[in-house]
Subunit: 348 residues, 3 copies
């Protein structure tokens, strides 16, 4: 792949600055500058690094007016970078067709343009829509729907009745639709509550490696459109995760909780069951959310509090050992003051 | 499936209240009331919701004397709900037989009533007992025993020598019997301690998706009868988990620890190695257990303390920033008192 | 297997104490003493236990001068134990050859001494070197390299372009090379940043069950020589993990972070993205590392602080509820002192 900077500016619909004839042969990030490549920056500090690097051109944010190198100016340099990376290093899509070592259940419908890999199993009555990729070793239960252009990577398990939308990506080892964790106490032991619901994954969702999403007891566990889920995340039965949310690695959401649209959870967050979380909530790493949380705030801590309060608390925590010493000293000084005051009183 | 309320009361061995002729066509929970369905409640507040819903009948706890709808009265409405759900929506069991695309090792015994799915592998000398279900893509090593009516879901890995009891359920992607994490320091590097023990899973255990249970270094890692383990839980080598315990998602128990009977661990709990935990211990989410813990208590925090203490500590933590300000003010006031007292002393 | 103690001392290159003719038929640890077995101890307390056990001989640390039983004396009893365990219970290696139910992609090279299990898939142009074991159900993408004597356990997924060194062990269900978690915000939704880098795993690394290691956006995610990674660990895109480090279960390291050599992370630790961690850093369980950390220290807490400080803080935390009461009492006493002083002043 080789394009000049003018062609790239046109492709991105962005402003060209400098020499449009510069030839671009690769896309780089700042840590790995390749020969004759274009890179991107988001801050002035990074611009200095990029300018002194061997990059042939830079994508800069509109706020930065100039660049010592030829540049593309954009309100969203990272988006430009992502689009160029896709242009220069397009994903190779496996060929349509069903591998001869694959088992297709009775009544299953596989679109002609879909790919079914080796040792994949498609359950009875399931449907794999056009352009979808079911990789090797994927096991799909009965009556599952896999939407157009969805990619399911190797060794994923999809239980029966799950519905997956268009352009979804599920990475290796994920388990979609396992039983929710529900029991009725029966004396000392536990009686399993049958989990007869399903999982619905809407369009444009991406799900990381070894993620687990449990089926609903009754009804559906739902991951809404555009949401991105990182590796080793747990989504409990009957959860509803709102549109365009981001859930980082190893976060766990207990059953019957609802997460609003455009939320961002950092890694290792925990959410209790039956919790409602509003829209646009940002939650810091390792936080714990035991109860309902209103929208439009940034939270941290276990249990979570607004981030400014959390920072004050953590700052104060660091001072706590000294505070205890200080208070002991104060007690002595007050003891002393009281003694002296008693003496003064006594003298009169 | 269609039964009247009188038949349901008989099936459950519970008391009928109101019209026994009401026809019940489905089982619902409060969030998803289906047409002509029966639902269940556990509290007075939920009873009001159920009464104003379109449910045809309600299972109510014995403590609640009346219901505006026809009802079933029980000491354990949730258990009744679970049993009815199983009655109305029975799990379909796969047919007995070995799929033609499955590999059965030399000397392995597969009961006639067992099911072995596509692309499953049963190692040499292993035994799959009657009624057991080995789903597609499950890989079972040598000399493994799988008990009666146990269900192993797709893409599970069972290493050699593992013994699994009756009516066990293992969900997709689980790894049972991987090597324990044991090394001897050898200069700057680590020398692997061979893990020659196994894993024993007793009857009626359920294990969630992508759970990992390590084999013992020597001896056995044991999950005792009736215990339920949620998704993405880690059980270390040589752990012994007592009967009828419940371990929620993403909890991790390091090696050589012992958990008593009837314990409940909420999500994301961590337990150090060589820790003994008594019976009937309840541990709150995200707690950390660094050392031995006696039975019959409720714990929270990292490190854990009794829950009342934890709540006092967390309550106090929220007040800490203000406390620091208060103490600074006190110091000034005491400085001032001391100055004034010195003046008074000086005046004399 | 049967050897006398003299032969064992020779095998280990260690000092024999007592009767070299003692016959050793097994290797035990203190919790599971087998008949005619040798065990090992590391402390004087354990020596007493071993001496009163039925063990036939003991491996003792050089610091302990005597033993009531015949013994082997070593600077590293645990290493001796590991080596003896390997001698007495050698791992059985699967036979060389490609299972007839395995798919080998065009141009893939499989060494004659390698083992490829049932239902394994080796992608186009990949190479499996001599002595390597690819277990059943393992799916390996295109252009992957698997080094000599590396063992990949069942149901592991290795994405295209991954490079794995010699004598590496990867346990069941691991996913190596899934896409890094990278998106560019595009209005309300997220645009996927193509992940065109790979993963490099160096020699002698061991990776636990269901571990996820993401491919780099550009360049490589690297696990350096000798590092040991426990179950359910998450390694983010572009991370570099130094040599001979140990990462315990359920730890998560976000993208673009660097961990130095010989670090030890206990379980459930979290590391933010773009964080640099020096060499020889030990991090306690459930800790959180939000920013750079210098080498050669022991850390604990979320956020981490030096362990002595963390212990002081946690100790102080336990005293916090009482401290709040104390400060309230001080305020009253100071109020009183001020009142009395005002009276004294007034009297004059």
């Amino acid at each position: 792949m080789k394009k000049n900077l003018r062609e790239i500016a046109q492709f991105l619909g962005a402003e060209l600055i400098g020499d449009g004839a510069v030839s671009i042969e690769a896309v780089s990030n700042l840590d790995n500058i390749a020969r004759n490549s274009i890179t991107f920056v988001q801050t002035e500090k990074d611009l200095a690094r990029a300018e002194s690097s061997s990059a042939a051109a830079i994508i800069i944010p509109s706020a930065l007016s100039t660049s010592k190198k030829s540049a593309i100016k954009s309100d969203n340099p990272k988006l430009c970078f992502a689009k160029l990376l896709g242009l220069y290093m397009p994903a190779d899509k496996p060929k349509p067709g069903v591998h001869k070592a694959a088992v297709i259940g009775a009544g299953a419908e596989i679109a002609k343009s879909a790919h079914i890999g080796a040792y994949a199993v498609i359950g009875e009555g399931s449907k794999v829509d056009s352009g979808a990729v079911i990789s090797s070793g994927v096991i799909i239960g009965e009556s599952v729907y896999i939407g157009e252009d969805t990619v399911i990577n190797p060794n994923v398990t999809v239980y029966k009745g799950v519905s997956i939308g268009k352009r979804v990506i599920i990475h290796g080892g994920g388990v979609i639709g396992g039983d929710g964790f529900g029991y009725a106490k029966d004396g000392d032991s536990y009686y399993k509550v049958p989990q007869v619901g399903n999982v619905v994954i809407e369009d444009d969702v991406e799900i990381g490696s070894n993620v687990t999403i449990d089926r609903a007891t009754i009804g559906s566990t739902i991951i809404k459109r555009g949401t991105k889920i990182d590796n080793l995340v747990q989504i409990g039965h009957n959860d509803i995760i709102g549109e365009n949310s981001v859930i980082c690695a190893q976060t766990g959401i207990s059953g019957s909780s609802v997460v609003g649209r455009r939320c961002t959870f950092a890694g290792q967050v925990g959410v209790s069951d039956h919790v409602n979380i509003g829209e646009n909530v940002i939650v810091g790493a390792q936080s714990g959310i035991p109860s309902d949380v209103e929208g439009n705030q940034v939270l941290l801590g276990s249990p979570v509090v607004p981030i400014m309060q959390a920072k004050r608390q953590y700052g104060a925590f660091a001072k706590l050992p000294k505070l205890i010493i200080k208070v002991s000293q104060l007690i002595k000084r007050i003891d002393d003051l009281e003694k002296r005051l008693a003496e003064i009183d006594g003298r009169k």
